[in-house]
Subunit: 159 residues, 2 copies
DNA sequence: GCAATACATGTGCGTCCGCACGCATCTTAC
DNA sequence: GTAAGATGCGTGCGGACGCACATGTATTGC
């Protein structure tokens, strides 16, 4: 075996990381699918719509420009552009011009959108609970939350 | 405030679960994208191809039928069917009939596939390390691995 | 003031993915 | 033995997604 090099992780550590990552990927595939189906079946709202409504509702003045909205829902700006158009068609979102910058467009949640969000929220929360959180102990949830936030922070720092 | 109902999670617990789930989703989106790009740029191998090669190589006799392969790489059987066809075109996988069941098809890794896998493996492992594990402490990795495996086990049990 | 640049957004297009369906084969009940 | 159902797989099709590019607007350097 090759002599250890500076700051090179040991084999056991690599395995642990891979095992955690593997579990992470499989969990994502499994839980996202089930959650998506459950929420959509019970509320008629796709998960992506729910996310958009959630972010808009939580935003200042209940509206956001496209790019910031895309970042918050973790989708491409392109995708969000189309998503918002569909939701305008469904009357859940309005597109408003920004008087301060005529390039920009605000997406604003409508009353109908807020109503849909209020209906869907408990279903969504229950879904997260049922398909994810309920299988974990409080301590584990804390570690997962904090650990993954660390990972995200590192990525954002590195840009 | 409403009196607590039987086995209903408290608000704080719900929030914790949602926070963990939120971090989970954002981490997945961020890390998968970066990892995928890094591995593909350095090895020319899409992540899905790598996964297929990995599972085939680890399988008994280095081959698997389509359905079991799909389950292991966490994709639909449909998708795997097309994936394997592409990889046959690239000479990394062979499709072989199963003499015991003429409906079935084996996907078997070829020498070229094994070579590609050997080349890509260190890049992939380093990518996981760089984009994921290195930002977490050993203890956190263990908790994440074990916790998510619990979630998966519960889902498989519920089926 | 104006050209050069940066920025916010929308659109054409290709990729990845899974569902619905169909075909061939195997298994089971009789 | 055979009809009915189950199983393994491939394909047509449409949805979700993001990249490259185009358009219109703001900002900056001079």
């Amino acid at each position: 075996m090759k002599p250890a090099e500076k700051s090179l992780p040991q084999a056991k550590t690599v395995d642990l990381g891979v095992a955690a990552w593997s579990a992470f990927l499989r969990t994502h595939a499994t839980v996202v699918r089930r959650l998506e189906r459950a929420v959509e079946a019970q509320t008629g709202l796709p998960l992506s719509w729910y996310d958009v409504l959630l972010e808009l509702n939580a935003a200042d003045e209940r509206r956001l420009r496209m790019q910031p909205l895309a970042e918050r829902v973790v989708l491409s700006r392109t995708r969000v552009s189309r998503l918002v158009d569909e939701m305008v068609g469904a009357g859940m979102v309005d597109k408003l011009p920004d008087p301060a910058d005529r390039r920009a467009t605000f997406a604003a949640i409508t009353d109908r959108g807020r109503k849909a969000l209020r209906t869907a929220a408990p279903v969504y929360l229950a879904g997260i609970e049922e398909h994810f959180s309920s299988h974990l102990r409080r301590k584990q949830l804390e570690t997962i939350r904090d650990g993954l936030e660390q990972v995200l922070a590192a990525h954002h720092a590195a840009e």
